[in-house]
Amino acid sequence: MELVLALGIGTLAGSGVWLLLRPRTFQVVIGLSLISYAVNLFIFSIGSLAIDKEPVIVDGKELTLANYTDPLPQALVLTAIVIGFAMTALFLVVLLASRGLTGTDHVDGVG
């Protein structure tokens, strides 16, 4: 499971960086989105991967780390998703304004 997740994060981040370095604004915004997906998965995985374990304390289950999963990364990833989403939306508006004012979708506004 770790290997699959690591490959997934790596693919997303790698494609994101590649797109971020492209000259068209649409490619840049998709690249930034892919990077933020990769980062979100990374944050989620930092609390160690577990199946069928709960982040909150349940009656009758012994209070050891073997029975529970870390709740904090899940809270962090939620915050990161919301902020990343809002920032992408804001960036899209800037890109549209740039397209309108310069008449081109090149990131430098020329060519």
Binding site: V28, F42, I46, T79, T102, V107, G109
Partner: protein, 545 residues
Amino acid sequence: MTWIAPLMPHLLVVPILLPMLAAGVMLAFGEGHRDIKSRISLVVTSANIVVALALAVWVHAHGPVAYLMGNWPAPFGIVLVVDRLSAVMVLLAAVVALCAVLFSSARWDKAGVHYYPLAMLLLMGLSGAFLTGDLFNLYVYFEILLAASYGLLLHGSGRQRVSASVHYVAVNLAASSLFLIGATTIYGVTGTLNMADLVQRVVEVPAADRWLLHVGAGVLSVAFLAKAAAWPLNFWLVPAYSSATAPVAAYFAIMTKVGFYSVIRMASLIYAESPEQFGRAGLFALGVVTAILGALGMVGTLKLARLASYGVMVSSGTLIAAFGLQHWEITGGAIFYLVSSVLGACALYLLIDLIERWQNLGATLEDDAPFLAASFADDQNVNLDDDEERLIGRSFPASTAFLALAFLVCTLMIAGLPPLSSFVGKVAMLSASLTLGGNAADDAGKIWVFMAVLLGTGLLSLIALTRAGIRTFWATPLREGPRLRLAEGLPVGLLLLTALAITAAANPILEYVNGAAKSLYYPGAYVESVMRAPIVPPPGAKETP
């Protein structure tokens, strides 16, 4: 002093809550009512100055104070912490915000919508970033201040500004991703996000995992250094700052310092008790390269706004290099220099706007601010002869002299020449370097390089600014004196007078910044204030013994 005691520790949250509240109230007014909004902003920024001064006085006398935001005991909830360094940064942010808001109330606030709420949100983000004691909370405040800064950078619109914004937003979004990767890696290794708790946990990290800690710290520093405009991640700075409207650029003079503040805060906390000092040589080298490139940029440009932006880069580089040396004596001088250089850069950006308008004979170019040009024409039709015009648009004979004198003072501030405060900061750094370098410390070579860079960049910036001054004030044909408005002349004068006051009170302030620097290297009191912060018992609960 006595009136502060009952307000502590609740006073810590005021510099964050007040601007947030003001921004919310202003949004309720809609797009108009600029007069009321500018007054609210002036009141809030002044109040922030008073609160920050009170905090600075208090922590100087009593040591760091922590505030438990959710009333959870120390390592679990989010804490705010104020120590000498964060108090002085909050104060500086409020001073810069006051000047920017005052300056824009003359006319720049009409160049777009929602200027004042964005300015308040930026102040909120800045205060929060300086006060927070939690790594992830720092990320949230960074995003708040960045979101507000995107809006402010776009204020005034126009092709150049939007193009620069595209780069600025893209670079900052990428840096934010790195911030998240670094912060969560550190959480994964140490199991805590609380900065004070980190100091203790870092020591316990087993040797096999220490490389992962260094990776986390390294990625985090890259994110901070991109915001602090360290080479090679600083190519966004000059286009963005020089195309922003004047009050926004002046406001942004403190933005790169947030990155620098975060670098020194995190680096000193993560490696306080740790045997190895990871990345120290790298910081020094990056700072030196940044300062030299910034100084060369200053010499190579004729446009005033770009000149000021390269000046910001020089001060960033100097600060990073000074911290890279890792001696608290030099860091103390660097904090003093930080304050002076922010005041100088802020005043210079405001001044440049006045000078350029004077040279364009009062006109604002259409492409420069499309919305402002339209509303300004309306102003001239309606208000040409009534009271308002006579009050705010009077041209007084000494105004040329004021501009020239203010430019001279800015030059002294940015080049670090006597008798103003940035000279004191540079002398403090130089004398500490001389003592340390003379005592043949193990990094004496680096200290001599640092001194050469400090003096060399000062000389280059002096040459560049003198040339700009001669071209502006002497080499142009005589023309009518500029029409200065009180609201535009006042912030420039205020900033320069503050610099003068800092020079006059240099001794106690040096003592203060040296204390701030020392507590960075010995964070015992900082950690203790967080870990021992008492939780407030719920109402009706019995006193626990």
